[in-house]
Amino acid sequence: MTSMRIVVWVVEGTWQGCIDAAVRHLPADSRFTLLHVTPSDVTEAADAATAGLFGRGFPGRKPNRRYELVADDEAAKLLAAAAARLGKPDAELVSRSGRVEREVIRAVADGVDVLVVARDGDRSRLGPKSLGHATRFVVDHAPCAVMLVWPDETPGIESIPPPKHGPPPPPPHRRD
């Protein structure tokens, strides 16, 4: 059997949980790709704010280029740290920028077996909308198995809200 192809989506704030879960649960002989996506809307927003100034942008400074340079530099360092934590210095490191959720899907579109994703979103309010927008999109559209991991400790089952008042649930189906 050929080894599995695994992509770990590395995101600031939650990446350690993904790497640890990959180490714990996935075969060590898998081929790993570590993926980071810089959201282009953030650099665009920062850059566009200067357009609102009508060009009085402290001439001689080019903040937009600085944003890209800083983002590329830090993404490379983050991916290197992730490869070290994974214990696979030979893992493929992929850094992209664009619309995050679409870039992630593009990265797993072909021949990937498992995508490792951290839950993000507001974890203080677990419920139907507790996945962040990008994660929700990726879970919905990824053409491979998705391993959704808690970035830190898992919640206890007491996080399930008590049943709401209302009509009682239908009785369990009877097996005869």
């Binding site: 995101v11 600031e12 704030g13 939650t14 990446w15 959201p39 282009s40 809307d41 953030v42 665009e44 927003a45 920062a46 566009a48 704010a49 200067t50 357009a51 609102g52 100034l53 009508f54 060009g55 009085r56 942008g57 402290f58 001439p59 001689g60 400074r61 903040p63 600085r66 944003y67 800083v70 983002a71 530099d73 830090e74 983050l78 664009g98 619309r99 993000d120 979103g121 507001d122 974890r123 203080s124 962040g132 927008h133 970035p151």
Partner: protein, 416 residues
């Protein structure tokens, strides 16, 4: 020249000036079209020389003030004040994203108020971006906070925004009274932004930043003291009936001389920071708008703007100013609206400011026209990923507008 023709010509030239300023072919300065356009209006007599002279005289202190503040902010950057602020934010947050956001809010609000929104957009935002990246946290909430507060937190002082400088002359207020009246609206706007952004980005304010790489830089004592003294100077000069522009000039000179002597910066950098083409653009734009006002549009605007200084009028004025600034950018909107309200006292003038300063967050680039142009530019490559920013604008601008105007109404009763 008959008035309708003169008016049409002036409006066309304003359109050309704004269009050029937005597109900026080959990165050429805005003044390239604005100055000849103003010159043409003068030569053709659309704008009588006498009127032009009085408009230029009333704009000159404002433009000088702006120039001094731009130089001051640029020198603070050369002295490492913003880099140091980034390191304090990183260390102070101890890697917690919500604490970091609170510190970014504080820094962006103070920098915008004291050194103008330009300093926040151009000098502080890159530092915040780099700081967040180094902490390995998500940049989005913090960067969006900077761009939003550059507008919303520019209500406090006359120096915080070019529009404020324009209104400062029209309002007849002293520097201290301006600040005292706008303190409550300023805090209200920041408070609403905090509540909305904190909730909107809850999903991105996750994890714990990695602070092992953070080294806290020492406080650059000299520029900090000079900025504090300059700020005090604004209040003192204004109380003595001297233009506060001189305090800004003094601060800029005190920072510039040792910086040049120790080769921290060059004379040419200081001259660049002065941004003479932009100053010429502001003057020319002022003259063009004056010509438009003279030939009929002024009275139309005066009729459009609600009279009175009750809460309802203030809200209507702020909303009108916000809408207009989103259509044509807030600088011409302020130039057009301020003369129409300046006779009605400080309340309506300050309500215009709330509209033109906080309104631009709706389209994140200052105006609809700029937004459309960016779309044209981007279409060839990737689609512009801005829906989230527009949604955030729609969620923050209306409540900020209403809350800040309500605060202004209360403030006018308290401060008088």
């Amino acid at each position: 020249m008959p008035s309708p023709i003169a008016e049409t010509l002036a409006v066309l030239l304003l359109g050309a000036t704004l269009g050029w300023a937005i597109i900026r072919p080959r990165g050429l300065p805005e003044a390239v079209v604005a100055v000849p356009a103003a010159g043409l209006l003068l030569v053709l007599g659309v704008l009588p020389l006498g009127q032009a002279g009085s408009e230029a005289r009333s704009l000159a202190p404002t433009i000088g003030f702006l120039a001094a503040v731009l130089v001051l902010a640029s020198l603070c950057d050369r002295y490492g004040l913003f880099e140091a602020a980034g390191s304090w934010m990183a260390a102070g947050s101890r890697g917690r994203p919500v604490s970091l956001l609170a510190l970014v809010f504080a820094a962006a609000s103070v920098v915008t108020a004291v050194l103008s929104l330009d300093a926040t957009v151009v000098l502080l935002t890159p530092v915040v971006f780099a700081t967040v990246a180094r902490l390995r946290l998500r940049a989005k909430p913090h960067v969006y906070a900077c761009t939003h507060l550059a507008n919303s937190a520019s209500l406090l002082l006359p120096v915080s925004n070019l529009t404020n400088l324009l209104a400062f002359g029209a309002s007849g207020l002293s520097f201290a009274r301006f600040g005292a009246t706008m303190a409550l609206p300023w805090l209200a706007a920041i408070g609403v932004e905090w509540l909305v952004l904190r909730r909107f980005f809850a999903g991105d304010l996750v994890g714990r930043g990695e602070t092992h790489a953070v080294t806290q830089l020492p406080v650059p004592v000299f520029p900090t003291i000079v900025v504090a003294l300059t700020l005090a100077g604004f209040f003192v000069t204004s109380a003595l009936n001297v233009s506060p522009a001189f305090a800004a000039l003094a601060g800029a000179v005190v920072l510039a001389v040792p910086a040049i002597a120790t080769r921290r910066t060059g004379v040419q950098n200081v001259a660049l920071a002065l941004d003479l083409p932009f100053l010429a653009f502001v003057l020319a734009l002022g003259l063009i708008v004056k010509a438009i006002s003279l030939h009929g549009l002024g009275s139309v605007v005066t009729h459009l703007v609600p009279g009175g200084a009750g809460l309802g009028s203030l809200l209507a004025i702020a909303a009108l100013a916000a809408v207009l600034s989103n259509v044509i950018n807030n600088l011409p909107a302020a130039l057009l609206l301020l003369p129409a309200v300046s006779g009605a006292g400080a309340g309506p003038v300050l309500a215009v400011l709330i509209g033109v300063n906080t309104g631009p967050n709706l389209t994140y680039v200052g105006s609809l026209a700029t937004l459309l142009w960016r779309r044209v530019l981007i279409r060839r490559g990737e689609e512009l990923p801005i829906s989230e920013f527009l949604r955030l604008g729609a969620l923050t601008v209306p409540p900020v507008l209403v809350t800040a105007t309500l605060a202004l109404w209360i403030s006018l009763r308290l401060v008088g």
